[in-house]
């Protein structure tokens, strides 16, 4: 890849939208081109500027108005359904569709391992680099609207590197990266409803909670579900370390949601 070819891909590169092959070619070019490196840096600064903008929220009275209108509209629709019987049957069918979980997707944990491997090959796996858990949480919230708990594992010698927005099952997911020496650990937070039984692997109990463990392509994974969220840790670290991290993340999250 030369400078012109890289420049044509600058935006998708910074947006994390290149496929793995192009990403690797782009990184090879970047490694030897200071001009394109500074292009990337400027583009990142610009995105950060936009990401720092204050977000306006809907005023509470407007929110209440919308909720009232929704309820009013649903009551009228329900009344119409009662008056027209065949429509009521259709409504029941709609409810059934909601209850059937999505099928035909790649198994979630395997998908997370693939992402861990892909990101590890990128020169800067973290779109947003910071050792501060609060800064990383704020960035994920602003950038993708994800409320993610980022634990501090520095006491165990595991350093926070940063985060990026990943996509899993066509939803935005948070990818938080740590490192212990040269060993990386990814922590994925995926908004996906599911039961722990739907996750792959062997069920283990740790600290009074259930987790799934699975080894794929030489990486160990620990995953679990909590309400409408799936958590997955991927690393070459041993299971003891991963379960300890999982346990702390669960506790930190509970404390945060309870606060």
């Amino acid at each position: 890849m030369n400078c012109a070819e890289f420049e044509a891909r600058l935006h998708p590169y910074v947006d994390g939208e290149l496929d793995v092959g192009e990403m690797l070619a782009a990184n090879t070019h970047l490694a030897q081109c200071a001009t394109c490196q500074s292009r990337v840096e400027r583009e990142r600064q610009f995105r950060q500027l936009l990401a720092r903008q204050p977000r306006e929220s809907a005023p509470p009275e407007f929110r209440a108005l919308i909720r009232a209108r929704i309820r009013q509209s649903a009551r009228l629709a329900a009344l119409r359904r009662w008056l027209i019987a065949p429509a009521a049957v259709a409504a029941a069918a709609v409810l059934l569709i909601f209850l059937v979980p999505g099928s035909g997707r790649a198994p979630l944990v395997t998908d997370l391992v693939n992402k861990h491997i892909t990101y590890a090959q990128i020169e800067q796996p973290a779109e947003f680099a910071s050792p501060d858990p609060h800064a990383v949480e704020a960035w994920l919230r602003q950038r993708a609207g994800l409320r993610v708990t980022v634990s501090d594992y520095s006491m165990s010698g595991i350093r926070l590197v940063g985060a990026r927005i990943a996509e899993s099952n066509e939803r935005k997911a948070a990818y938080v990266l740590y490192e212990k020496g040269h060993t990386l650990m990814s922590v994925f937070t995926v908004p996906a409803s599911g039961r722990i039984a739907d996750l792959e692997g062997k069920r283990v109990s740790y600290g009074g909670h259930e987790y799934m463990t699975l080894e794929r392509k030489g990486y160990r994974t620990v995953s679990w579900t909590d309400g409408p969220t799936v958590f997955g840790l991927v690393s070459m670290l041993d299971y003891d370390a991963l379960l300890e991290c999982a346990d702390k993340l669960r506790a930190d999250r509970a404390a945060q949601l309870g606060a």
């Binding site: 977000r55 999505g102 927005i165």
Partner: protein
């Protein structure tokens, strides 16, 4: 009366899955209409449309992108009905490309330390100055954090078009911000 007879289940599901994105809809509506009263009407309209077609929403996909698509369609309908100026064709045509090169004087300038000093109000002003086609692409990508695929669904255009609008839109935005920074004296005229 049982819950489903009053539509209570549906409403609860809708509130849980869709209404959590109300802030996002509200912000986007403000940026599209640039007018608070119009934005509130638009969000209300979009929410009721979404409720009516909620059975068509695929729970495996991004609900925010789905809602933003509905919001945008409602916005376009509103504009058509109101016989507002035909902004759509003009902003996506070659004349917009031309105006981009005219306005985007600062594109490619190496000195962009002004990013650190840009005022929040400036970004707002610069976004408002963007032609709608570019504004909505930048808004969806950089303020709402949607992926290219999701943006292409919201805008109903190919991913290639999303990429070119983003690239041009961001270029224009930088140009305007750089000009504002110059006006505020953050950047010297010669830079």
């Amino acid at each position: 009366m049982p819950g489903w007879a009053t539509g209570e289940d549906k409403v609860q599901e809708f509130e849980r899955v869709a209404l959590v994105h109300l802030d996002s809809l509200y912000r986007s509506a403000l940026r599209l209409t640039q007018n608070r009263a119009e934005a509130e009407d638009l969000v209300q309209d979009a929410c009721l449309r979404a409720l009516r077609s909620f059975h068509r929403f695929d729970p495996g996909t991004n609900c925010r992108a789905w809602l933003l698509t509905i919001l945008r369609n409602a916005f376009l309908n509103l504009k058509r009905r109101g016989s507002h100026e035909v902004f759509w064709e003009s902003t996506t045509s070659e004349s917009a490309d031309q105006s981009m090169t005219d306005m985007g004087v600062a594109i490619g300038h190496p000195e962009e330390e002004f990013f650190q000093t840009v005022l929040h109000g400036d970004v707002d002003r610069a976004l408002k100055a963007l032609p709608l086609a570019f504004r909505e692409a930048v808004m969806l990508a950089d303020l709402e954090g949607l992926s290219y695929k999701e943006i292409s669904q919201v805008l109903g255009c190919p991913i290639g078009t999303v990429m070119s609008r983003l690239s041009r839109g961001r270029g224009l935005l930088r140009g305007t911000l750089s000009r504002l920074a110059r006006e505020h004296g953050y950047l010297k005229e010669s830079e």
